[in-house]
């Protein structure tokens, strides 16, 4: 048997004359974890779609050789039958169905045609869950009661139920916190021992360096190189060099600007859970931001950072909210989002697709939406011309790569969508911006550009709050950092004294107290 479970040779795929993949070659060894790296739009997903049969045989040129057979897949079903399973970034679970039902979704265990065999379903589901370390979950619980991390594992269990040989994970840890990510990665190594081959697409290079056996780098639809652990250098810097074609000496652009007066201050902020009035989510939080300062909120997912931000932003989250907000030293009352906008506060959501963008609308429509009332209309009538001019200006200013301001945002890449959301809030001319996970799921080039925008805003004297689950990013971009855990501020440190270890210690100390 050949060493290689999968060989994709000279794959070329065109869309309307544009080459998305141009003579791509990738060889995956049996039983390894093979990482696929590249910036957004480099062609990783297209390549995986060719492999799994989303793009049917004949719509591309080149060969897919799997287990020494040339494959001619026309649908995903056919590739799954051969043991190739792809887990997409967006989870494909049915939220109200039970764990057991989800494990066998689309692959139901039956007695006779069309009748589900529940005994078999439960028995086998339990086996699969054991393989991914979830044997303690109740099989009858609906999956939406689980966290994202566990849901991801359910997806893997589901793949296992299909007798997977080659598992493809697209950004598996994008929505997970550090703890959950670690667990997922160790499960992947566990699968490796069981003889399952993994292809992993990820932007988190530290994870790739940690678990991958070999790494194929794709740039602009072409294979650049394949790095093998043990023989090649697989450090993060080395991978980045391959991805962007140059060395990014500094992943965080330097900011030189003066920090001024306190511009935004919150005192004794308390918030209770939206659905459960007895659960306090934010506990007596006080903090401040100065003009020209970038302040970070570090902490685990679920620590209450997003809840804090949204409750400040026009009471968009929670109930029984108490505490006071000061802007430029003056106390302000913010009852709804429009009040927040009028008080020059902006909030860029962590989930751009659900909370940030109108996906069916154009770049222009999205950019001007929040500022429409205050800046682009007169007596409730929209001034379309000033709107177009502003959209053009911002498109140029923060380098949104779209064919025109009339392009629908759903067709933009993640990084460009994020820029559109940023532009939308910059247009409201805020003094204080809260950026919730501003670089989630976007490539390194776009990240760098977004850090640049943050710096420009700071230079213009704005106060900026960056919420991020990537400690490195918080440390790299912020002047001062608050650590939030269990709804409290458990620590505050300046750029000079901060380190990843210190932040983690701070988080752990607080959660220890609660337990």
């Amino acid at each position: 048997m050949s060493d290689y479970i999968l060989e994709m040779n000279h794959i070329t795929k065109e869309f309307y004359g544009v080459k998305a993949l141009d003579d791509v070659n990738i060889r995956v060894k049996r039983g390894e974890i093979h990482a696929l790296c590249g910036e957004n739009g480099a062609g990783k997903s297209t390549l995986m779609n060719v492999l799994s049969g989303v793009y049917s045989y004949g719509s591309y040129s080149g060969d897919v050789v799997y287990n020494e057979n040339v494959c001619q897949f026309h649908t995903i079903k056919q590739s799954e039958a051969k043991g190739i399973v792809i887990i997409h970034q967006e989870l494909a679970l049915s939220p109200f169905l039970s764990i057991a039902e989800n494990v066998f979704l689309g692959n139901e265990q039956r007695k006779i045609r069309g009748v589900v065999d529940w005994t078999k379903t439960h028995k086998k589901a339990q086996e699969m869950l054991k393989k991914v370390g979830l044997e303690n979950e109740n099989l009858n619980d609906p999956v939406n009661t689980l966290g994202v991390g566990k849901q991801q594992l359910i997806e893997i269990a589901r793949a296992m139920a299909k007798q997977v040989e080659l598992l493809i994970l697209d950004e598996p840890t994008a929505a997970l916190n550090d703890e959950e990510s670690k667990r997922l990665l160790s499960i992947m190594q566990e699968l490796k021992k069981q003889g399952i081959t993994c292809i992993m697409i990820s932007h988190k290079l530290n994870e790739i360096s940690a678990v991958a056996d070999s790494i194929t780098v794709i740039r602009d639809g072409k294979t650049i190189e394949t790095l093998v652990k043990g023989t090649d250098d697989i450090s993060e810097d080395r991978i980045i060099k391959g991805m962007v074609g140059r060395e990014l000496t500094n992943r965080y652009p330097v900011r030189t600007c003066d920090i001024g007066e306190k511009i935004f201050e919150v005192k004794n902020w308390n918030v209770f859970h939206s659905d459960d009035p007895s659960r306090q989510v934010i506990k007596d939080v006080s903090f401040h931001v100065k003009a020209g300062e970038v302040v970070g909120f570090a902490g685990l997912m679920g620590a209450g950072r997003t809840e804090l931000a949204m409750s400040l932003f026009g009471k968009s989250y929670g109930q029984k909210i108490s505490g006071s907000i000061f802007i430029h030293g003056k106390q302000v009352i913010i009852k709804n989002v429009q009040d927040a906008i009028n008080n020059r506060l902006a909030y860029v959501s962590e989930d751009r697709k659900s909370y940030g963008l109108i996906l069916i609308d154009s770049v222009r429509g999205n950019m001007t939406l929040a500022a429409l009332k205050n800046f682009f209309s007169k007596r409730a009538v929209v001034n379309k011309n000033s709107e177009i001019l502003a959209a053009e200006e911002y498109k140029k200013r923060i380098n949104v790569k779209a064919s025109s301001i009339n392009q629908t945002v759903s067709s933009l890449s993640g990084g460009n969508q994020q820029k559109v959301v940023l532009a939308k809030w910059m247009m409201t001319q805020p003094d204080v911006l809260i950026l919730d996970e501003p670089t989630r799921g976007i490539d390194i080039g776009a990240k760098y550009e977004i850090y640049g925008v943050i710096n420009d805003l700071a230079k213009a004297g704005k106060g900026i709050i960056v919420i991020s689950s990537e400690l490195e990013e918080v440390i790299g971009t912020c002047d001062r950092i608050y650590v939030i855990s269990e709804g409290r501020i458990s620590g505050e440190m300046t750029k000079a004294e901060v380190s990843q270890e210190k932040i983690m210690k701070c988080i752990m100390a607080e959660s220890g107290k609660e337990a």
Binding site: F313, S316, Y347, I358, N385
Partner: protein, 388 residues
């Protein structure tokens, strides 16, 4: 590349109007030109006025991603209120009309309250109002027709603007209609010139001249055709004025005002709209309240045209109005659709109804055809979008 794109976008916009013209021409061949007679053109406008009025309001509901099923029944209630006040209580029309509008507004607010404050799905709320209002109508009217209504009232639905007729070869022609057509046409040209001028001023791309010329040419033909036919009949029907004002007003609201943009944003993504400072509850409330007001206007026009209030009035109007929106290119998921589209959709339905009646098809057959046209139009629209 860019230029080509502009052409395509415009073609799509006008596709519906071309379909409208095509349907009209097909029926004029089938009926031997009967549907082009001045009397029939006048009929077309009068018969469809209430559907157009309802479609305009319905489009706003459809833009939010919902529908209003109670429309036909509210139309009936408002007509019943007018009938009872005028016939039983000898009220003047200046009391009866505001009363009907008040009832329509209140019923709209009723729906709006449940939808926005209590977050009950509009489908359920309006299914309830559909039943309740129909039952209420039958109760109020004791299941009988109330009439006749005075001529000063029926003027709204069946009257004409003053005319200046001169006789021309075997018939008469109304100079007022011709004059209005002329003014309308001049205004359209002035608007077009102004928009080109502002586009040039800001340095935006301008459509090629030949496109503008074709557009103006088609508009000219349609406007001229309609008003010429009307002038050969009895002049401009009053409902045309009501319709024209409403369509213009709502076109302006949806395309040019902040409120309009908020409706589209809400339909596109309610959560994002909310986080952009849009009071989504308020938008829902006003969209449904507005629908109630338009139901009242449609109810008044309908009862005026019939010169009576009947308990069966407005039966299934909601379905025609909803169909008009979807035929006119609105999306069931919300956030997509235009007033002009809905109006064109309403007229496509109207021309179909009218043409089939003239051709002698029974209402049973008409329903089959209408159903097929709705399904076909939406299927073609969605498939063409999917191809991209």
């Amino acid at each position: 590349m860019d230029k080509k794109k502009i052409v395509n976008i415009n073609m799509k916009e006008y596709g519906m109007i071309l379909a409208l013209i095509a349907v009209f021409l097909i029926f004029s061949v089938m009926t031997g030109g009967k549907n082009m007679s001045p009397a029939n053109i006048n009929n077309l406008i009068m018969q469809n006025s209430y559907i157009v009025i309802l479609a305009v309001g319905m489009l706003l509901c459809v833009l939010t991603g919902n529908i209003d099923l109670g429309v036909g029944s509210i139309v009936a209630v408002c007509g019943a209120v007018v009938g009872i006040l005028i016939v039983d209580y000898n009220a003047s029309i200046w009391v009866a009309i505001p009363a009907a509008i008040l009832i329509g507004t209140l019923s709209g607010m009723f729906v709006g309250f449940f939808v926005s404050k209590l977050s009950i799905p509009p489908f359920i709320v309006t299914l309830a109002t559909m039943l309740m209002a129909r039952g209420l109508t039958y109760t109020l009217l004791k299941a009988q027709t109330k009439g006749p209504l005075p001529t000063e009232y029926t003027f709204i639905g069946a009257g004409f603007l003053p005319t200046m007729k001169i006789s021309v070869g075997g018939g008469t022609i109304d100079l007022i209609s011709i004059g209005v057509a002329l003014i309308a046409f001049i205004l359209i040209i002035l608007f077009e010139m102004k928009s080109i001028k502002t586009k040039k001023k800001y340095g935006f791309p301008v459509n090629p001249l030949w496109q503008t010329a074709i557009k103006i040419g088609v508009i000219f033909l349609i406007v001229w055709f309609f008003f010429y036919k009307l002038s050969r009949y009895n002049g401009i029907p009053f409902v045309l004025v009501i319709m024209g004002v409403l369509v213009a007003l709502y076109h302006f609201i949806t395309s040019r005002t902040v409120a309009g943009r908020q409706i589209y944003a809400l339909g596109g993504n309610a959560k994002a709209a909310k986080l952009s400072g849009i009071n989504t509850d308020k938008v829902y409330f006003w969209v449904y309240t507005n629908m109630g007001i338009l139901c009242a206007i449609a109810g008044i026009v309908l009862s005026a045209r019939n010169a009576s209030a009947t308990p069966k009035a407005g039966d299934q109007f909601e379905l025609d109005a909803i169909a008009a929106c979807y035929i006119g290119g609105a999306a069931t998921t919300g956030g997509v659709g235009t007033i002009i589209g809905a109006v064109v959709g309403a007229f496509i339905m109207g021309i179909l109804n009218n043409g089939m009646s003239l051709y002698g098809w029974s209402t049973d057959i008409q329903k089959i055809v209408k159903g097929a046209v709705l399904l076909g139009a939406v299927t073609v629209d969605l498939l063409s979008k999917r191809k991209k």
